[in-house]
């Protein structure tokens, strides 16, 4: 069950390399260093600037813009998850989805802003459980559900069909 940081780094690197092969991306030292920042860091939720500060130690010449671009890319690659804790900047966490579909939730303290995590084995009477397990006094919650509405599902299906068709033509040629 336990996994060392090296093993995690290897796993994430493997996942990055898979995607780099498929798509037209390149492996760069900057990208490795950014990924490592997340694996090594003790704090789970890093902002672009947090990452920048960490990464400058290993690669002093790196630019903040590169960090932003890398975070975007990793999010698109599903290596990271973009989060928002209402603290004025986007934060990111490693997306190591070991158990499929097991999200975790974020408890944000209105007093000190600290963020706690809780597994989602339980979407039962949420607040009762938060109270019991975390002694967290819930004031409010906001659930955001991301996905595709009916229209966009159709659009995407149509696009996928068209792409498949084009791919087939290319192969024939």
């Amino acid at each position: 069950m336990e996994r060392t940081k090296e093993q995690l780094m290897d796993l994430m690197m493997k996942r990055m390399k898979e995607q780099i092969k498929n798509k037209k991306y390149k492996m760069t030292s900057q990208r490795q260093v950014v990924l490592r920042a997340f694996v090594e860091s003790d704090s789970r939720h890093l902002s672009a600037d947090d990452v920048f500060e960490i990464v400058k130690k290993q690669a002093p010449e790196i630019g903040l813009a590169t960090v932003y671009r890398t975070l975007d890319l990793f999010t698109e690659m599903d290596l990271l998850k973009k989060l928002d804790f209402d603290d004025g900047c986007s934060r990111y966490e490693l997306n190591d989805h070991d158990e499929e579909g097991h999200y975790h939730h974020h408890l944000i303290c209105l007093g000190c802003g600290k963020v706690w995590e809780c597994k989602d084995d339980l979407l039962e009477t949420l607040e009762t459980i938060l109270q019991k397990q975390f002694h967290f006094q819930t004031v409010d919650h906001q659930l955001k559900v991301y996905g595709y509405c009916e229209d966009c599902q159709k659009k995407r299906a149509a696009e996928a069909a068209k792409e498949a068709e084009e791919a087939a033509e290319t192969t024939v040629q």
Copy 2:
């Protein structure tokens, strides 16, 4: 069950006036106009700039800064709820919590960005229900829970006690 816009406006105005009495706030025409923007608007989730554009028609001299300050104030007063749909700005909605504790959730389409609302009668197998009721294909969700951690609960309790004490002293004098 149905409520006209005038009734809603009256209700919200009443709630504002209550708070203005208690605290040291003042009733201004700008604040009324901003509140009205939310009551009258057909779109439920307004950004600061949306509000600014609406409100300029009624009060052309108003400043964007005032809109921001008013939105903050209303949020603090619990008249509005601050939302975040990942579209680069904060949005606000009327907080008319008729049925206590009945939140609603936001479905954000990854394709077109449209936002849907669903009542929270049901925090059962979420995705199944979203699929059935909204034909919404869930890809991911993010639940944010706001409240107070154990430490802050203690701090707040202590502060409340101190304030009560001071108030008592003042009364005695």
